[in-house]
């Protein structure tokens, strides 16, 4: 008899992702991913002025506010065929890069490391040994014995007082936790340091965006940052160097601490490079335009089918013709009216709730398909499409990671091993290291352009009569984000956001083909159905983000894992 595990943040408001798995023997045989909150929030912008849509769309989510603002202005600019000035392009890029640096650091340490790192073993670690081990793995300056001892004392403090606080619900002592106490201590010391370094990246977003969360500096047609090297109130050299100082402070942490920790984790959990591949079709759009025309990009885009990473099709523009036509959303298993796949420009969001039906409708997430196929998006997709094309920066950091993992684990790993649960964490660290280099490069682009005397930041939009369509894309921390707009007589007549988590958390489609989360869980081990740590490891590796749209406080608090034998 299979055991059914239902992991559901039961609370109506806070929890939005529900995972159901059936376990036979000791591995997952069936899986369902369900979003339990209606995402019809796009309807709120219908009939509004397209120039203000980004103010609304960045409230879709609490974590990725910036990315929804950016995709929105890009979509309207695409519909108007409106080019933005080079300064605007580079300022936007710096915001996107720094937002992603912050996001990746927080995801790895604060939101997923404790799936792998058993902090309750830390009190018995040898702090001096931990420090020398850490120093042998990397040049990071935060690996002193003093640093390790301080982190250990912190754990001893709350473990001794019985006040576990935010660590109260971890699966400590779980048999799938396999790291030596010293490695756990190193990871936790960096966990604490991460809280500081991610903040520097976020400060860059705040300085350029005027405010964070919810940046205020965008406009359809450019940005609202006044550039004047002679003014104290505008973006001047002093401010630009402040930005550079912040960015430069984050880079060593990313390249020496985070990158190494992700590789070490992969080396010490080799089995997790064989589980969790999931859907092996990958999609990434190009991003970080190098010029005003967006004719070249620093992050390549492309499509890989069936895990064939030696045969990637390149996407050349942010809204490639192929991409425009390939995307459709299937509603067969989603709680919306209609079954036929809909192109986002024709997309409708009319709720039709049934109960959770294993073989019927079971999620508020639509099922996006690319030429009819489910696609995995996110850092792994980005790294694989770049690697397949021989993109130098992608290759540099991917090869460095593979070398590191092979050396620490004493077992040769290849780029193919990245198609796994652990591979998604490694790919995120690779991407973060790439972005840390690009943060400097795009700062230089901006300064070079301003030095030429160019201070333009805005090209005013003109709205035509009649109907025009546009799509704005952004290769966000969690993957390909696209906003699709239809403008009629200067007003929004349709708006659909196809977000990264929609691709990855997609339910089955009209042919019964499951989405990436669902596929990735099949064959996943589960030692103890009461403590489905392994399921969480695979789900968390995607960096799911669907819970942010609503944040009311529920004072009751309820447990969430339920297990029943079928």
């Amino acid at each position: 008899m299979p055991t059914r595990i239902n992991i559901d943040p039961v609370t109506r408001i806070e929890g939005h992702l529900r995972i159901d798995v059936e376990v036979e023997g000791s591995s997952v045989s069936k899986a369902w991913a369900s979003c339990t909150m209606w995402r019809g929030i796009e309807n709120i912008v219908l009939g509004r002025d397209p120039r203000e849509a980004w103010l609304f769309t960045q409230r879709f989510c609490g974590v990725c506010t910036t990315v929804h603002a950016m995709a929105s202005v890009r979509a309207v600019e695409d519909a108007l065929k409106l080019q933005i000035p080079p300064n605007a392009q580079f300022i936007r890029n710096l915001i996107l890069i720094n937002h992603a640096l912050h996001d990746h650091i927080v995801h790895f340490y604060q939101l997923s490391a404790l799936d792998w790192v058993d902090i309750m073993t830390i009190p018995r670690a040898d702090a001096t040994k931990a420090a020398s081990l850490a120093q042998s793995l990397s040049d990071w300056t935060g690996n002193s014995a003093k640093e390790m001892k301080a982190a250990q004392d912190k754990v001893k403090g709350f473990a001794g007082s019985g006040q576990l606080g935010m660590f109260a619900t971890g699966y400590w002592g779980h048999p799938a936790m396999k790291l030596p106490p010293e490695v756990n201590l190193i990871a936790f010391a960096h966990y604490l340091q991460a809280l500081t370094y991610q903040r520097y990246a976020l400060q860059v977003v705040g300085m350029l965006g005027g405010k964070t969360p919810h940046i205020q500096n965008l406009a359809v047609g450019g940005v609202q940052n006044a550039i004047d090297l002679d003014s104290l109130a505008a973006l001047n050299m002093d401010r630009l160097y402040q930005l550079k100082y912040l960015t430069d402070s984050v880079i060593p942490f990313v390249q020496q601490a985070y990158f190494n920790d992700a590789c070490t984790l992969a080396a010490l959990y080799p089995e997790w490079m064989s589980y969790g591949a999931g859907v092996r079709n990958y999609l990434a759009v190009p991003d970080l335009p190098q010029d005003a025309q967006a004719s070249a990009f620093d992050l390549p885009g492309g499509v890989i089918l069936d895990g064939n990473i030696y045969n990637a099709k390149q996407l050349y523009t942010a809204a490639d013709t192929e991409f425009r036509h390939a995307v459709a959303e299937d509603l067969t298993h989603a709680w919306y009216k209609g079954n036929e796949p809909q192109h986002p420009w024709k997309g409708e969001t009319q709720p039709h709730y049934t109960d959770f039906e294993d073989n019927g409708k079971y999620s508020w997430v639509k099922a996006p398909r690319y030429d009819g196929r489910p696609m995995q998006v996110g850092p792994l997709a980005q790294v694989l499409v770049g690697y397949a094309q021989g993109h130098p920066l992608t290759k540099k950091w991917t090869d460095a990671a593979l070398e590191k993992i092979s050396a620490v684990g004493k077992r040769k790993v290849t780029v193919n091993d990245l198609q796994s649960t652990m591979g998604r964490h490694v790919a995120r660290a690779i991407r973060c290291a790439m972005l840390s280099e690009l943060a400097q490069k795009h700062w230089e682009y901006l300064v070079a352009n301003i030095s030429r005397g160019d201070t333009a930041v805005y090209n005013p939009p003109k709205f035509p009569d009649g109907e025009v369509e546009g799509v704005g894309t952004h290769e966000a921390p969690r993957g390909t984000l696209s906003h699709w707009v239809v403008l009629r007589n200067g007003r929004l007549s349709n708006y659909q956001a196809v977000v990264p988590t929609t691709w990855n958390a997609s339910p089955r489609d009209n042919r019964g083909v499951p989405g990436p989360y669902e596929t990735s869980l099949l064959g996943n081990p589960v030692i103890d159905p009461e403590k489905p740590l392994e399921v969480l490891r695979t789900v968390h590796s995607f960096d799911p983000c669907m819970a942010c749209a609503c944040h009311t406080y529920d004072p009751s608090g309820k447990p969430i894992a339920q297990v029943k034998v079928l």
Binding site: G47, Q242, S493
Partner: protein, 184 residues
Amino acid sequence: MSIDEPVAPVLVAGIGNLLLGDDGFGPQAIARLQAEYEFPSEVELIDIGTPALDFVDYLAGRRVVVLLDALACGGEPGEVLTYDREQLRQRLPGMRLSAHQPCLDETLFAAETAGIGLQEVTLIGVVAESLDVGTELSPAVGHAMPQALQLVCDIISRQGVEVRRREKPLPIEAWWATKPAAAS
């Protein structure tokens, strides 16, 4: 050059989603406070939206934190309830499935772990009536607004910080209050 610039010791943060009816209570309360009261430089008001763990960054360097939020619990819509740090601590954070649903409690624990010592934390909550898509508060929650704002001012005044009501309120900066055009 210093990276961490000094911040105001008193933070008033409005939490919630402006697009989901009464969930917008927190951010809307911030806009009202800014329009109706004058605060000295010791007080910072932030419309924080629906933050995750990045909220911790806004707590660094504070002494007193006042949170305004909608409540999803039983009770009469519009009822105003306050919770202090101890009461918030009583509630253990639930296990996270999505990595981005750290609840408020977890944010406060994370702040402690990061070595941020807050002397006083108060959550002023209003029981929500409707969380459906929309930018307007329900009448019940709207009526509760003045009471909640008064509570904020009382907490700040108890710190010996003077809060003055403006004789003539400023216009409320509310991009969300614009009306969409009828479909043409």
